[in-house]
Subunit: 354 residues, 2 copies
């Protein structure tokens, strides 16, 4: 019953299978294709629409263009008790980050805290996709990454040397759902600008600035300006620091070396990430920690509110709601996306999505 | 030559000695008093005026009030290869954090990355005071803390359950000075509000909001409102997450348990911190890393600039400039501060500052 206002809803399993078919068609081995399908679909299930199946045509284009290695030898190249450095061999970011996250969790069982850096990876979807994996092991997950396109200059500057370098942190609670922060260091992520452009809407002031320092509100003119960091020079500082930790420290791209993966289908990005697994048990009994979390979450939620505010939200509530809805009702696919996926199916000579 | 416009300049050694005398007078053992004097003075030397000798009268008042333990048994209470948990036994925060930072550096030599959590500490000065210590070992330092007074409600709320929970990260370079980010998760730190009030100046819109959600610009009315987080709900998320990692995880105060150390001279704060030491050598040759840092720093500094911007700044430049000036010319002490310190000297029956 798809029309422009009510997008078709598709069950997660169908998305997973379709992504795996597409990946298989361009040479990704079946087991890896299945993992990529699962992780990309998980992004859609948690409501990170800009980072799920929406990216599939671009991923396929870059694989076909030779920018991504479909049979990578993902491996640990340096290791100590509290850290590891993973070389992704230019594989799909989802495979590389899955490997790195498992490694971090394994190491944190003994080490208490394990920091795993990653180089020669690729775009891996939303930051929280990996930060949330340690939750099942009663661990906190912390993820940083260098974004795959520079839309941010240093504060006061014009050269776009920085990306929207995101952070995600997931912290388990007891009866309450986990706290999951997942944010870019810019006021708006670039994907939101693209969405505004597609919809023909204007952006609020504060998202972007033009090269004369004036507010830029027409998303169709986005390439005439740049994103603004949160808190001015503070967000610039955070974007820089997260980039140093996820990029420079790991020998991954940062600054002028960052490849714009939207505009380039042939050049490896050498994407850098960090995943830290923090084993709560190393600090205190897990049950005690979760009790403290529940109490704090309830205090925050039950705070008195500003006039006009209906309820206090905790970081992660949006994704919990999306997950509940989409697990039951399927994932909404807007008509333009569905048509792009059907076109992709035709090109790859695979069965369409539905 | 002190008058109200040109503050007296006092050499660092005199500050160190005076702080040590004051600490000694309230029962802090000589070796510890000297360390506190050094660390507090280092805050002034790097330009963190609100966190150096300015705090001495308050620290002494809290020691006299019984809120702080002058002979703490600071110790590691939990440990694994990649982490430790330090119990500060309610000692002066500077002593506790010095212990924790040394521990993190020692552990990171073997473990590559070491995460040290701290509980039962106290206010320890500016965040960068500890994040910068690993630099001398070719390590990156990362520090988080729970602030010692709640001035921030959850986003949309009125109950002040969060502090300005800061982050500091210090990253070494080669020929260039290190990058040092040191920031509160609010648009302005509360100290800046107090400074505005002292000077009889108004605050810009965006620093604070009143309980009706209107901009609050009169710093004398600060207690009728609250600070605003950077990037709205994003800064709220960061303040919450840093508080969970530095407070809740370590069994330290967070949320409603935070004691306002400005208003209370008798209650221990159970302040929580985190210091992470990241050994660059574990990831790549140090010389190579520093070369990459220099290149990136120069790219950022040489960026084209917005109209009217004279130069691009890197995080830490302000503190480097203050250090150069104050090492040579001494630390400027405004007349009201000098008079407060003289009064303290009289109360404690110790030799005055100069």
């Amino acid at each position: 019953m798809a029309d422009t206002t009510t997008p078709l809803r598709v069950p997660a399993q169908k998305l997973e299978a379709f992504i795996a078919r597409a990946m298989g068609a361009v040479g990704v081995p079946p087991g890896d294709a299945r993992i990529i399908g699962e992780l990309m679909t998980r992004a859609d299930v948690q409501g990170s629409e800009g980072h799920g199946i929406f990216r599939l045509p671009q991923y396929i284009r870059r694989i076909k263009g030779g920018a991504v290695n479909v049979k990578p030898d993902i491996r640990v190249v340096r290791e100590a008790a509290g850290m590891a450095l993973v070389d992704g061999d230019n594989g799909m970011g989802h495979l590389v980050m899955r490997f790195a996250t498992e490694r971090a969790i394994e190491k944190a069982k003994d080490a208490g805290v394990a920091w795993v850096g990653v180089r020669w990876s690729n775009h891996a979807g939303p930051a929280s996709l990996y930060a949330t994996v340690p939750l099942a092991h009663d661990m906190i997950g912390l993820y940083l990454a260098v974004g795959n396109a520079n839309h941010l200059p240093p504060w006061g500057g014009l050269d776009m040397l920085l990306s929207t370098n995101p952070i995600a942190v997931a912290v388990p609670a007891g009866e309450e759902p986990p706290i999951i922060l997942d944010m870019a260091t810019t006021v708006a992520a670039y994907g939101k600008v693209k969405t505004k452009a597609q919809r023909g809407e204007m952006m609020p002031e504060g998202w972007m600035m033009d090269r004369q320092g004036r507010p830029l509100t027409d998303p169709k003119r986005a390439n005439e300006g740049f994103l603004l960091p949160i808190g001015g020079y503070k967000g610039y500082g955070l974007a820089l620091i997260f980039g140093l930790l996820a990029g420079t420290l790991n020998g991954a791209a940062m600054g002028r070396d960052v490849v714009d993966f939207n505009a380039d289908d042939a050049t490896p990005t050498n994407t850098g990430h960090v995943i830290v697994a923090i084993n709560i048990e190393a600090f205190q009994p897990v049950a005690e920690f979760k009790k403290s979390m529940d109490a704090l979450i309830r205090d925050l939620r039950n705070s008195q509110r500003l006039p006009g505010v209906e309820r206090i939200r905790l970081p992660g509530e949006g994704s919990h709601a999306a997950r509940a809805d989409r697990t039951r009702n399927g994932i909404p696919l807007p008509a333009p996306l569905l048509s792009a996926l059907n076109q992709l199916a035709a090109e790859l000579k695979i069965a369409p999505l539905s």
